[in-house]
């Protein structure tokens, strides 16, 4: 919905600049970007995520000034940051808790996109770029988790790089090439640090493309009906800047509660023990944001197939725009799909729960010493995860009758008999 630019340079210097590098125009157009007037709080997570990226890059660059990427010194350097560097305890916690907050926000953002059909034409590229950002985020989080060189860092890195060992024929060579040795060691730590520093800037670049694509086709909205007239939209500033700012402040309250009062609640105690190549911790589980994928990995008793399934769980997101063929975007008007969507979210939580559990333990007791194990429950949830994308959405695309939809955003907001007169912002 990028209409013609309305920016007019007021001062001579601004005019001079505008003729040579229209960067002020770009900023001004960004601030006055016409946004649907009916965006709800679920649409504030984009702004929250931008803040998360800034927090992580800023705290990360500072931590890199104090961190030492060497197997003999890495753990001690993190201890020094926590104990001696002025406000090091704050910045280190901020970075670690910030990663969790980043994923929390990204999952909200993704669920919102899934519910309101934000991946559908013409927004496929926004969605695919978003999936790419998520993928690079996961890589960055994994690489970063290795750096403190605790027990979970080491064994997490060993298990994840072990995935590459499952590739037929070249697996072992590929794994050792990635590690730079026979096992996770100094070479691995150093390259992980280098890449962990690099990838956030790749994310920033992808975010640029993501926002560019968004501004090219315009935002989706809760009713999924494109903007038609000027009365359907509001200027981004001040309407959405203030709404996003409020949401960010509330998000920061939650962030601060974890940062200051529960800094270790989302981490693992084992990571306060220095890496030991001779001893694997008894309960090795990834960070909470990877647990659903971990459950999918463990859902099949085969190494290669488990990895393929886990990769498939991410790949399927990329092709979603072509799997859900229903013409109606928002699930507000898809009474059947909505229930399957709610069940999908429940299943994602169940997968996370199974990822944290010991596979052979009983998850749901049925009588004495019997019940459904985490392994079986995880399998069931995995089946639903894939069925949702590969079976349910394609079939519903053909058969589901949508509810009656309003003609436009304006009519949805004001009712059918509106006059555009009362709609202009009064400021």
């Amino acid at each position: 919905m990028s209409g013609p630019s309305t920016y007019e340079p007021k001062y001579a210097a601004a005019k001079w600049m505008d003729q040579r590098l229209p960067i002020i125009r770009m900023g001004a157009d960004f601030m006055t970007f016409p946004s649907p007037r009916n965006l709800n709080y679920w649409y504030t997570f984009g702004g929250i995520l931008a803040l998360c990226l800034v927090v992580q890059i800023l705290s990360g660059v500072i931590l890199a000034m104090h961190y030492v990427a060497d197997v003999d010194l890495a753990f001690a350097s993190v201890q020094r940051i926590r104990r001696d560097v002025p406000f090091g305890w704050l910045l280190q916690s901020m970075h670690a808790v910030g990663a969790s907050m980043f994923f929390l926000a990204v999952y909200m953002h993704m669920f919102r996109g899934l519910y309101y059909g934000s991946y559908k034409a013409p927004r496929e590229m926004i969605w695919i770029l978003g999936c790419a950002i998520y993928l690079v985020m996961m890589a960055t989080a994994f690489l970063g988790y290795t750096l403190p060189w605790g027990q979970m860092s080491f064994w997490g890195a060993t298990v994840i790089t072990g995935f590459f060992g499952a590739v037929p024929i070249v697996g072992e060579s590929l794994q050792q090439w990635l590690l730079g040795g026979y096992a996770v060691d100094n070479a691995t730590l150093n390259r992980f640090f280098a890449l962990h520093y690099l990838l956030p800037f790749v994310i920033a670049a992808l975010v640029g493309l993501h926002v560019w694509a968004l501004h090219h086709v315009g935002q989706n909205n809760p009713i999924g009906i494109s903007e038609k007239t000027e009365s359907d939209t509001l200027s981004f500033h001040p309407f959405y800047t203030v709404k996003d700012a409020f949401a960010i402040a509330v998000f920061l309250v939650i962030f601060a509660v974890f940062l200051f009062y529960l800094p270790d609640a989302l981490g693992h105690a084992d990571n306060y023990i220095e890496a030991d190549a001779m001893k694997t911790p008894a309960h090795i589980v990834p960070e909470w944001y990877f647990l659903p994928f971990y459950a999918i990995l463990r859902a099949v008793p085969s190494k290669l197939f488990g990895i393929l399934l886990m990769l498939g769980a991410i790949v399927v997101l990329f092709v979603l725009p072509w799997l859900d063929t229903h013409k109606v975007r928002s699930m507000r008007f898809r009474p059947v799909a909505r229930w399957f969507f709610i069940l999908f979210i429940v299943m994602c939580f169940i997968l996370g729960w199974c990822g944290a559990g010991v596979p052979d333990d009983i998850a749901i007791p049925l009588g004495k010493d019997a019940g459904i194990t985490f392994y079986r429950l995880g399998q069931a949830a995995t089946v639903y995860y894939f069925a949702y994308f590969l079976v349910i959405l394609p079939i519903l695309g053909l058969v589901e009758t949508p509810k009656k939809r309003p003609d436009s955003i304006t009519k949805a907001v004001l009712g059918e008999n509106h006059s555009t007169a009362g709609l202009a912002p009064a400021e």
Binding site: R37, N38, L39, A76, Q79, R80, R82, R83, W89, L90, S93, L234, P238, F239, V242, K243, A245, F246, A249, V250, L252, V253, A256, V257, L259, F260, Y261, L262, P263, D264, A265, L266, A269, D270, Y272, I273, A282, H283, V285, W288, L291, G352, W353, G355, A356, G357, V413, L414, G422, L423, P425, A426, E427
Partner: protein, 287 residues
């Protein structure tokens, strides 16, 4: 768990939610045992909790006289003991390197060094800038002296176990509980149901009256007070040790909580103002 305030309750709820998702595990486990974990109401729990500095001072003595024969504290420096929020902080000595307690404690340890003139390895008394020295020269020596098990470093022990404070406390108390049927304890190992798997290489370290507690002098708002030494029971020593190790694992806790309180107050005011701004900007706009 008892919740003193609503805030404690909310935090408790978050922790409970976290444990439901499997993020936190209970300590111990893996073995059937009659031992009941005790969960003392630690002074440092909760959003306003602080370390019991008098107990932590006694805890240092327990560490020095008992634990330190095997366990290092390598990420802690002597000067840390006199930092703000540390057990031996004195308001008159903002620079912990001038703190008389810290100086005395440092001098009480022997530090290996190199003689600047001859290059020989020498031993000298510690100074405030030194870190707590390693107990064994290397891992192999530690293993050789301890029947194959390396005594872990205690700097972050309370954070390195789930519910670490309760874990350390109960580990000290659980020695001597009856060995369940079918469990075989090989020589060099000891039964302790709190330890993962139940078998631990460390023999019971504490016994009644092992440490000779001194009275502790504190400055209570400019008034010097003497706190009499309690009886050195195993429970008392374990409690004091946990206070000390909780501090060594998280020396910035008090600063963290006070900055946190300021930050939360600020953020809540900011949220409120932003909400009012939002209402004002949108007041005539239907959406």
């Amino acid at each position: 768990m008892a919740f003193k305030t609503t805030k404690n309750f909310i935090l408790g709820a978050i922790v409970a939610a976290a444990s439901v998702t499997g993020i936190a595990y209970a300590a111990g486990g893996g073995v059937e045992s009659d031992y009941k974990m005790e969960h003392p109401d630690w002074s440092f729990n909760g959003p306003f909790g602080k370390y019991d500095m008098v107990a932590a001072q006694r805890g240092y003595k327990v560490y020095r006289e008992v634990c330190a024969s095997c366990h290092s504290l390598k990420y802690v420096a002597f000067r840390h003991l006199g930092d703000k929020g540390a057990p031996f902080y004195l308001a008159d000595f903002e620079n912990p390197n001038d703190n008389p307690y810290v100086k005395n404690f440092a001098a009480d340890w022997t530090i290996e060094d190199i003689d600047n003139e001859t290059g020989d390895v020498i031993e000298r008394p510690g100074i405030t800038a030194d870190y707590f020295p390693p107990i064994f020269p290397n891992d192999a020596a530690a293993r050789a002296s301890n029947g194959g098990a390396i005594p872990p470093d205690l700097s972050s022990m309370v954070k390195a176990r789930n519910n670490g404070a309760d874990y350390v406390y109960n580990l000290m108390l659980a020695y001597g509980s009856p060995i369940p049927k079918g469990v075989e304890i090989t020589p060099g190992l000891h039964w302790n149901p709190v330890m993962d798997g139940g078998k631990i290489a460390m023999a019971a370290p504490l016994s009644e009256g092992l440490v000779d507690y001194d009275p502790v002098e504190i400055n209570d708002h400019g008034e010097l007070k003497t706190i009499a030494a309690p009886e050195a029971t195993v429970e008392q020593m374990s409690h004091d040790l946990v206070q000390f190790l909780a501090w060594s694992a998280d020396p910035k806790m008090e600063q963290r909580k006070s900055v946190g309180l300021m930050t939360l107050i600020y953020l809540i005011i900011l949220s409120l103002l932003l909400f009012l701004s939002y209402k004002r900007v949108w007041r005539n706009v239907k959406h």
